[in-house]
Amino acid sequence: MSTSGPLPLAGIRVVDLTQVFAGPTCTRILADLGADVIRFESANRLDVTRNLIIADNEGLDHHWHRSSYFTIRNAGKREMVLDLAKEEGCAIFKKLVAGAAVVVESFTPRVMENFGLGYDALKQIKPDIIMCSLSGYGQYGPMRDFGAYGMGLEPASGISSITGYREGPPIRSGLSFTDPYSGFVGAGAILTGLHYRRRTGKGQYIDLSEQEAAIPIVGAALLEYQMNARLKERLGNRSEYAAPQGCYRCAGDDRWAVISCTDDAEFERLAHATGHPEWLDDGRFSTLLARHEHHDELDEAITQWTSQRDHYEVMHTLQQAGVKAAAVLDGKEVLLDPQFRARNHFDIIDQPHLGKRPVQRHLAAKLTRFEPKARSHAPLLGEHNEEVLREIGMSDEEIARLKAEGVIADRPNLPVPPQLIAAALKLPYDRYLERGILQAVEGDYREQLGIADDGARK
């Protein structure tokens, strides 16, 4: 399907001062499109995601190189560990900006200014620079200095107020999806800026508030309130646009499938596919309005059919009959699903210390002339210090001196021995299993994923 022709952003350097989730998602897309993304970390304050979801839940004495969370969203980037608080570190940074097209950062506002690296300063160095600041609430306004984590920003955008079981409280999604969403938005904003720069030679500053980026998702709810002074209710899995619509229990342990019928014709196909043509003559179900009214009864009837069948069987049987349906997949099933596999949603990278691992696409678009995929492993701490410094003309002696003076580094400065941190990061999975926080922990997962050959190099 895809050929890997030359990539559109080849030759574009992106200076990446982001950490955690939203920013690294944005720059991972730019890297997959061919940009030379150089990320910067501090030895005193690592990207906190280097502590998250450690391979095999076992940090050993170098947990910062075993994080899955960090690995999947930083694949294909280069990295320097540079002390920006030191004058020489800052000078090196500015030299790299001079050769860059884009700077992306995700600090709380004022941090870049405090480093003397605000947009105006960067513009002095590189007049057509495109600088993008990703933050929780934007660069100005009364909440600009609010600390912001992804789990707070989905609610802050209004989405959680309409998420929840019917008549239940608001609830977050099972992951912080406005983080990657604003990363996608950031990538598009930067590509828009690059397009304009190509035509006019002008750079610009992009202020991206994650809260604002996600508010358009509730755009119709904003208008509903203005038009009818009514707040959208929490509908569980139902929809005002379809009936039946829901999540139905299937055969097996905690297996489910979703089904949605937008109109009478689709409901007719559902009735036939499930062997219940009598539903069509039942006054409770014969019109969309009636189905909304008798939704609980209809759900019960549908569950009698689904609960006898595997969730994938429900999906395929109904889809082949022309009814919208999907299996509700867990994290393992996504990796093994035939459609995701056929379209290469996961790229296999060869990660130092961890071996071959699948990482998901961040730009899901499939194109024919190039392939926006993870181009290599995620960088080790400071892996490209010397390579990058040589590219800007530094000698081996200078590089050795910078290392001795702590301007660059390839190990973290930890307040306690790494083994203690690794022990603290180990999650009590046996207790999580008991509690039902985990469904299973499978020792042979590499074999099941077909990535076992190369073993787990420590």
Binding site: V48, N57, G138, G141, P142, A148, A156, G158, I159, T163, Y165, I171, R172, S173, G174, L175, D179, P180, Y181, G188, T192, H195, Y196, T200, I206, D207, E212, I215, V218, G219, A220, L222, L223, E224, Y225, M227, N228, N237, S260, A326, V328, L329, D330, K332, V334, Q339, F340, L363, A364, A365, K366, P415, L427, P428, Y429, G436, I437, A440, E442, L449
Partner: protein
């Protein structure tokens, strides 16, 4: 007047619904000329509402008005041959063609990428579909719900003893729309550098799966399969929406909220918030694993404070203590929010038939080329300018097209 970033780009958009139109809205708000080609009955979102007074009117649908700012509308039945002829005349002058049909339908209309690439070698054909243009599920139908279900997000959202829960507001559609938009911009960039059109094929299910935080990663790196547990993060409690006096807040103590062994003599921000330094001595404050397992006891500890303080009191105090607590606003709360107002986020637009309404503003700010949404078009309002002035048809032809139901 400030410059527009994409003023050199022309888009022909036959997509309907949310994902495709949101992608082209983002292009249009940045200055691209987007010609929305609607079926004679109009984009189906014109029938979905919300409507003022709940009275259906294709010119007053809130969803349509929200998704189609800055575009012009022509009506054209692209399912019939004469409609396809007109469409191809439009494509000859376009940079991007956007559609939201499955491959089988596009092939029937001879409007699939394969049918177009020889005649229009520089055209970018962007297609968003529920499961993608290829693969074993290419013919399957879907919506936001099916995409969220396939992505593993849904399996991990909700309560452990109830059914998995989707996320409100059709986010699968918006995520796919944003991915389509990024794909189109990448293809435009590639055309500028390497000179050729392309097919941009976005699967709604993959777009949402691209947003996965760690469900697949936990299996790929640990063999662990996560399960929904009140939508909680695997690595800590609390990071969740909790009740307070008259509402809800998001309680996020953050990296430094609880007692730290590195700072044994200080009172933790959480204990300061609750005004009870003794809380720092409890295992529930000292150990994350303990909170995760015995969360009900933790809830009992913090409930007296939460239930006697309002969202504003709690969030402002927590933020002053450097904890990233957050609000849980409704649509009404957002519209009256002081922070968003001071940022000038919302945009008041005078619509043709539904009066002046306040719309969600641009999802990002550009200093040189600010996004400038204009009201959504009435159905077919640009038929005459486009067909007569741009394509050279006679005014009489319009009547013939109209009589035959082509426009």
């Amino acid at each position: 007047m400030p410059d527009r970033a994409l003023s050199d780009i022309r888009v022909i958009d036959v997509s309907q619904g949310i994902a495709g139109p949101y992608a082209t809205k983002l292009l249009a708000d940045c200055g691209a000329q987007v010609t929305k080609v609607e079926p004679p009955a109009g984009d189906y979102t014109r029938r979905l509402g919300p409507f003022p007074g709940d009275i259906p009117d294709p010119e007053k649908s809130g969803l349509y008005l929200h998704l189609n700012t800055s575009k012009r509308s022509v009506t054209l039945d692209v399912a019939v041959t004469s409609g396809q002829v007109v469409l191809k005349q439009l494509l000859a002058k376009a940079d991007v063609f956007v559609c939201s049909e499955k491959t089988s339908t596009l092939a029937e209309w001879r409007l699939h990428y394969e049918d177009l690439r020889d005649s229009f070698p520089d055209l970018i054909v962007a297609q968003v579909s529920p499961f993608g243009a290829t693969g074993p599920y290419a013919g399957y139908d879907g919506n936001s719900l099916t995409a969220i279900a396939m992505s593993s997000i849904m399996y991990n959202t909700g309560e452990p003893d109830r059914e998995p829960l989707t996320t409100g507001g059709e986010p699968g559609e918006y995520i796919a729309g944003v991915q389509l938009w990024v794909g189109i911009l990448a293809a435009l960039e590639n055309r500028a550098v390497h000179g050729a059109g392309d097919h941009v094929d976005v699967s709604m299910a993959e777009a949402v799966a691209a947003s996965d935080e760690y469900n697949a990663a936990m299996y790929a790196f640990q063999g662990a399969i996560r399960r929904r547990y009140y939508s909680r993060h695997i690595f800590g409690y609390p990071n969740d929406i909790v009740p307070c006096a008259h509402g809800h807040i998001v309680m996020i103590p953050g990296a430094a909220g609880f007692p730290s062994p590195l700072a044994p003599d200080t009172v933790s921000p959480m204990a300061l918030l609750m005004e009870d330094p003794d809380l720092d001595k409890t295992p529930l404050f000292q150990q994350m694993g303990e909170r995760m397992i015995n969360w009900r006891e933790f809830d009992d500890l913090v409930r007296p404070y939460l239930s006697t303080h309002t969202a504003g009191e709690i969030v402002m105090t927590a933020q002053a203590l450097r904890m990233p607590f957050a609000f849980v606003p409704s649509a009404a709360d957002l519209l009256s929010d002081e922070h968003l107002a001071e940022r000038g986020f919302f945009q008041r637009l005078e619509t043709a038939k539904a009066g002046a309404l306040t719309f969600a503003g641009p999802p990002f700010r550009m200093s040189e080329t600010p996004l400038q949404p204009a009201p959504a078009p009435e159905r077919g309002e640009a038929n005459a300018p486009v067909l007569v002035e741009e394509l050279g048809y006679e005014k009489g032809d319009l009547t013939v097209f109209s009589d035959r139901g082509v426009i």
